[in-house]
């Protein structure tokens, strides 16, 4: 399988580092290899420094004390992330990043401990559901992806009204094949109503080479870079 290695336009992606984040450098490397300029953003910074997209990577931000993401959401950088998201900027939360985005109210629902109470670290088959979001470019609904999961709190929950809204608005990004953690409706990833904020439990940054077992993560990361390029062009037009 060939993986596209070029970005339509050089874009800068910010990767947020909280104390306890541990997938930051994998994410940094994966995006860099796909051709993006990549910047690490410390959680105590108040500005995103003009990036075209933001990734909140996996890990255990602030030790996941109290609840996953509960302390991280009050970091100074999160105000800047919320403003950026509010202005339509692409924001992706991977694993712990997904948990941070739900705690911050940028995505609905919450993530509870896995139904089987096991920490899951395994390859995972996924099915794309909606592609009207910043990880959808170049993908089609029903596309199957193999991307690893690595989490204890990946059990997505939301109330019935929220679930109906997610389905009706095309906000279900991907589902698990064979639900590993008890998530409602097999949900592995969701987006906000405008599609510019996405949270997912699987780790695309760990699926970037056949040497790692799968390069399917590149499809999602390349989609993000395309979305970032669109944001950059739109910003350029506004500035012009």
């Amino acid at each position: 399988m060939s993986v596209p290695m070029s970005v339509p336009m050089s874009v800068t992606v910010g990767v947020v580092q909280f104390p306890g984040t541990n997938c930051d450098l994998d994410t940094f490397d994966a995006l860099s290899e796909l051709g993006a300029r990549t910047a690490l953003l410390r959680s105590d910074e108040t500005s995103l420094g003009g990036v075209d997209a933001v990734v909140i990577p996996g890990g255990f931000a602030h030790g996941d004390y109290l609840r996953t993401g509960a302390i991280a959401r009050f970091s100074p950088i999160m105000d800047a992330v919320a403003s950026f998201a509010g202005a339509g900027g692409p924001v992706v939360g991977i694993c712990n990043g997904f948990q941070v985005l739900t705690e911050a109210g940028l995505l609905p629902g919450a993530l509870r401990p896995n139904a089987g109470l096991s920490f899951l670290c395994q390859p995972q088959q996924l099915i794309m559901v909606s592609v009207n979001h910043v990880l959808g470019h170049g993908l089609s609904p029903s596309d199957e992806l193999s991307i690893p999961i690595n989490h204890f709190e990946g059990n997505y929950v939301c109330d019935g009204a929220t679930l109906r809204r997610l389905r009706e608005n095309g906000q279900v990004v991907m589902r698990y094949v064979g639900n590993p953690n008890g998530s409602v409706d097999d949900i592995a990833g969701i987006c906000n109503e405008t599609g510019n904020v996405v949270g997912l439990m699987p780790h695309p940054e760990r699926a970037t080479s056949e040497l790692l077992g799968t390069a399917d993560g590149c499809k999602l990361l390349n989609a993000l870079l395309s979305a970032a390029a669109s944001t950059r062009r739109a910003a350029g037009h506004r500035a012009a």
Binding site: G109, R112, A115, G116, L117, N155, D159, G182
Partner: protein
């Protein structure tokens, strides 16, 4: 100002599955404790709160629950207040 011993009990909401609670319930049954049901596992957060009166102490604790201590999507919070036996603030 007066001091209150505050206990905040955070538990998964009734409609939220609680695998830890279910597991403990099964373990209790296996140990022979019959008639145990509805086991739920949450967190107990204890703190000292200094405030003018009980209603202020409660109101401040409620704000803590809303903003940080509990996630209303999945958790309920219950607050217990008790006047501290000794006033350490003087």
């Amino acid at each position: 100002m007066n001091r209150w011993d505050v206990l905040v009990e955070v538990s998964p909401r009734a409609e939220i599955a609680d695998p830890a609670g279910t597991t403990i319930e099964r373990a209790l049954a296996a140990l022979g404790f019959a008639g145990v049901s509805g086991v739920r596992v949450g967190k107990a957060i204890r703190m000292d709160v200094t405030a003018a009166d009980e209603s202020e102490a409660r109101s401040v604790t409620e704000q803590m629950c809303d903003r940080l201590l509990a996630n209303p999507v999945i958790e309920d919070a219950r607050i217990e207040l008790r006047a501290a036996t000794q006033d350490h603030t003087t």
